[in-house]
């Protein structure tokens, strides 16, 4: 999933202070799972805003809607008939949803209510960890199913570096060395001989480096 984190309420307040009719818009997908922008968080943010404006003695209309997804036309279209009831929208979707909303409702300020962090997994309740950076050319088959691009702080393809200590990365105490994990997996899979194969220089043109990316499937295109 795409993992996000709620923006501090003060930061959100600053962006909406001048508006009178605000829609807090949640998303029922990734941000719901990572508890940053689903129906529950929409309710929490809306209540906090109501309280803030009440304390300011200002009357502000604050509504709550949570869409199935904010990255699909069909769900965003559900807002077509009532979008003009609002001066702005605080989207609690990831950066994709915020932008897709902004593209669709071109004359409406769409403000982000979360910081989009990474593609990751729920490691345990309340802990989400990064697993993928979308480099566009998956090499997990060669690295024991552990990604050096997203999980090594130096994204080394022929690691580990000299900073790996007791299985931990030099960058921080709670960050596991990706190459320690890779070596453990290779051992488990009886593929340690693969370790000595030098991974060649990566083609980053499929990554962010190549510019904004697009996937086009002619066979499913309408």
């Amino acid at each position: 999933m795409i993992v996000a984190e709620r923006k501090p309420i003060e930061e959100v307040v600053e962006t909406v202070e001048d508006f009178d009719r605000i829609l807090v818009l949640g998303c029922n997908e990734c941000v719901t799972v990572c508890e940053a922008g689903g129906k529950k968080e929409v309710g929490v943010l809306a209540s906090a805003l109501r309280m803030y404006f009440m304390n300011q003695g200002k009357e502000v209309k604050i509504d709550e809607i949570t869409l199935e997804r904010q990255c699909d036309h069909e769900y965003l279209e559900e807002l077509r008939n009532n979008i003009d009831d609002y001066d702005c929208v605080i989207s609690l979707a990831c950066g994709v949803g915020v932008q897709f909303m902004a593209e669709k409702y071109f004359n409406k300020p769409i403000l982000p209510g979360v910081n989009t962090k990474f593609m990751g997994a729920t490691e345990e309740r309340g802990v989400w960890g990064e697993r993928c950076q979308g480099c566009g050319q998956c090499m997990l088959a060669e690295t024991g199913g552990i990604c050096p691009v997203s999980r090594c702080a130096k994204r080394l393809f022929n690691g580990p570096c000299g900073g790996s200590s007791d299985g931990m990365c030099e960058v921080g105490d709670d960050l596991v060395c990706a190459w320690q994990l890779i070596v453990e997996r290779l051992k488990e899979l009886n593929k340690m001989d693969d370790y000595e194969t030098i991974t060649p220089i990566k083609d980053w043109s499929t990554d962010r480096a190549g510019g904004p990316r697009k996937v086009v499937r002619e066979d499913v295109r309408q």
């Binding site: 130096k154 393809f157 022929n158 790996s164 921080g172 320690q180 070596v183 030098i198 980053w204």
Partner: protein, 314 residues
């Protein structure tokens, strides 16, 4: 050394190693400013006692005068620099470009490194690059040198002619891949190794034994890295704070066991004893003495270790 010696580059360091001498290298950290004397003065202190001088590349991710410019200063003094190059700050365009820049001054040695993560330094909020890794940088320099081509495939007019080195940390984890990792660096094209600072001699010798078991010591010149402690505090700091560093308790105890004003002498003594012990160890082809901001001690260490005068090879 009656056998004819073959070398692949004009590097003086390579010639000394190829002739079977124990080589001595040392390092100078460039200043946090643009005064060239900060480099040339350090180099003056050690130049007669070492065969080549490494110049660090923004070590610990603290911004400094560039390694390349510092190497040029050494070259202009008639000395033998080892250009340290990390892949943290430059993509493949900048790396190849700087390699050519160095080659244009006939800088004939390069040490290919990953580089400490930027979070350690003065630019923790900066981006890192890591377009290629240190293993691939070794391959890149060898490709540019041996094939005379850029990574993109185009021909290089007057290719770089560098003796290619890499680092090895026998003490980092996981220990079991430390020898395979060296094998990988050799396969990538590394010709000499400068190791992480050695304080745990037993562990280093164990690593070296495994290196010899695979015959790797015949394929690469290993220079043992040493950094003398200035104080017991430094020993404790290195033990507890520097990632990938292995300082055994008895070494810390030895440093703490002498009076404060005698600790620097003790640190130098430990360094000299280590050299004397490792001099006799098969597979050690020389020493890389990293006396951090303490370059004036290098000549004494080299002399006491019985490694002076240095061979005169041109």
């Amino acid at each position: 050394m009656s056998e004819p010696v073959t070398t692949h580059t004009p590097s003086k360091l390579e010639k000394i190693l190829a002739a079977g001498h124990l080589a001595i290298t040392s390092e100078c950290g460039p200043p946090r400013g643009s005064d060239p004397e900060a480099i040339t003065k350090k180099a003056e202190m050690i130049k007669d006692h070492v065969d080549a001088i490494n110049i660090t590349d923004n070590q610990t991710s603290v911004t400094r005068l560039s390694s390349l410019a510092s190497c040029i200063h050494l070259k202009l003094m008639g000395l033998e620099p080892v250009l340290q190059m990390v892949v943290r700050d430059r993509n493949r365009i900048a790396l190849q470009s700087d390699i050519l820049g160095a080659a244009s001054f006939d800088i004939n040695n390069i040490l290919c490194l990953s580089g400490d993560h930027q979070s350690f330094g003065d630019s923790a909020q900066g981006q890192n690059v890591f377009d290629i890794d240190s293993m691939q940088l070794i391959q890149t320099v060898r490709y540019m040198r041996d094939e005379g081509k850029f990574l993109g495939g185009d021909e290089i007019k007057r290719p770089p002619n560098m003796f290619v080195g890499a680092a090895a940390n026998p003490f980092a984890d996981p220990f079991e891949i430390r020898v395979p990792r060296l094998a990988k660096k050799i396969a990538a094209g590394a010709e000499f190794i400068q190791t992480q600072c050695i304080y745990n001699l037993e562990k280093f010798e164990l690593w070296l034994e495994q290196v010899r078991d695979r015959g790797l010591d015949e394929k690469i010149h290993i220079l043992a890295g040493l950094t003398p402690f200035k104080s017991a505090g430094m020993a404790k700091y290195m033990k507890n704070r520097v990632p990938g560093m292995d300082v055994p308790d008895d070494v810390v105890k030895r440093m703490s066991g002498v009076a404060k004003e005698k600790q620097a002498d003790e640190g130098i003594k430990i360094c000299i004893e280590s050299i004397q012990r490792l001099k006799e160890t098969k597979g050690v082809k020389g020493f890389h003495i990293m006396a951090i901001e303490w370059e004036e001690m290098v000549p004494g260490i080299v002399e006491s270790a019985g490694l002076y005068p240095r061979p005169n090879i041109e």
